[in-house]
């Protein structure tokens, strides 16, 4: 199967898919049409539960079980990365080199870190009111912590970020989500039901369990992202050696006391 034959196969397959996509596109209802049956029902039931952000209501109230599935995909992906990128026997890690950084950049990082952290928490807390939610806020909080590495150096980040604590936060977020679900069960209705009082519309306490599920997802996504980046940073900056194909293994073993 030479490279040229593969290209021909790709071209034929590509054109076939293109034709099918074009036909399908012309059968779809026109762009910007007014028939959105699911949309109207979702908006109606979100307003019935006093949740201002209908998208968060869909995510954490009407389809909360799907979000549990997505959260578990996220958890499994991070678990896989942690297992894959662990430091194997024939590798050794050294402390990362300190890097000289422009003092202005350092000062900016020390100011921008708490501000970004606060904006991330704001996005999580107002998940069921304004645009945002646990997923976006969690990623922003994790990126805020990594400003230390981006603008200063990896040693500074390692001091502030015990990876075990964030792995526990990752697991705690997932557990909190499931516990909130079973609490709905114990309250006598369905798993992941919205059993809490809905509160007054457009306030922080509105939406019943939506803000709590939002916070649980926020903690889980922040923990997962920090653990994920911790593994990548360790691999790229600290872990050396390791098997580089068959031949490299012997001399690695030799010099590894």
């Amino acid at each position: 199967m030479s490279r040229k034959a593969r290209l021909w196969l790709l071209a034929v397959g590509g054109i076939g898919v293109a034709v099918l996509l074009a036909c399908a596109a012309f059968d779809l209802p026109g762009f910007g049409g007014t028939s959105h049956p699911y949309g109207e029902r979702a908006v109606r039931s979100a307003l019935a539960r006093h949740t201002a952000n209908v998208i968060s209501s869909v995510n954490f109230d009407q389809r909360a079980f799907d979000t549990l599935g997505e959260e578990s995909i996220l958890f499994a992906a991070v678990l896989g990365t942690v297992v894959l990128l662990r430091e194997t026997r024939d590798e050794h890690s050294e402390p990362p080199e300190t890097v000289r950084v422009d003092p202005h950049v350092r000062r900016y990082a020390l100011i921008a870190l708490p501000v970004t952290l606060l904006i991330g928490l704001y996005i999580i807390a107002h998940g069921q009111l304004s645009p945002g939610g646990g997923f976006q806020g969690g990623v922003i909080v994790a990126t805020a912590l990594h400003l230390l590495y981006i603008a200063i150096d990896y040693k500074a980040l390692e001091r502030i970020r015990p990876a075990a604590a964030y792995a526990i936060a990752d697991a705690a977020g997932e557990a909190a989500y499931v516990l909130l679900g079973t609490a709905g069960l114990l309250a006598g209705s369905v798993f992941l039901a919205n059993f809490l009082p809905y509160g007054t519309f457009n306030t922080l306490s509105s939406g019943g369990t939506v803000p709590l599920l939002n916070a649980a997802i926020g903690v889980e996504v922040a923990g997962a992202t920090v653990v994920l980046l911790a593994r990548f940073l360790d691999q790229a900056l600290e872990i050396e050696g390791g098997g580089t194909g068959g031949t490299g293994r012997q001399d690695e073993e030799a010099n590894r006391s």
Partner: protein
């Protein structure tokens, strides 16, 4: 205009597949895969759009005062973006593992290495 977004999503998907198939570097292939993923976001959100509609977020407007777009597709795409990033991370971890075990990230060279 009534078909343009769907054709654009189709084009982005096909370009992503082309890049994926002809890539000579696994990291480049992972990038092309995320391009393929973003074509699904464009298609889903284009299906949910309503001309003259606004976002179904009622923190700053009164409910029912303006037509709104479809929130269900937005909820689908929202979680998919974050999960897509984590899956990209898992794929990159596999690429690092391949580079360690076989010393190369070129898919053609890899297919010749048996075991």
């Amino acid at each position: 205009m009534s078909v343009l977004p769907y054709l654009a999503a189709g084009w982005v998907f096909l370009v992503g597949c082309y890049g994926l198939a002809t890539s000579r570097n696994l990291i480049h292939a992972v990038g092309c895969l995320s391009v393929c993923q973003s074509s699904t976001y464009v298609l889903l959100l284009a299906v949910g759009y309503r001309r003259g509609g606004t976002a179904p977020v009622f923190s700053d407007i009164a409910p029912g005062s303006r037509p709104v777009v479809d929130p269900v597709v937005q909820a689908l795409v929202l979680t998919d973006v974050v999960v897509g990033a984590t899956v990209t991370a898992l794929l990159l971890a596999l690429v690092i593992q391949t580079a360690k075990r076989h010393g190369t990230v070129d898919p053609d060279e890899l297919s010749e290495l048996r075991g």
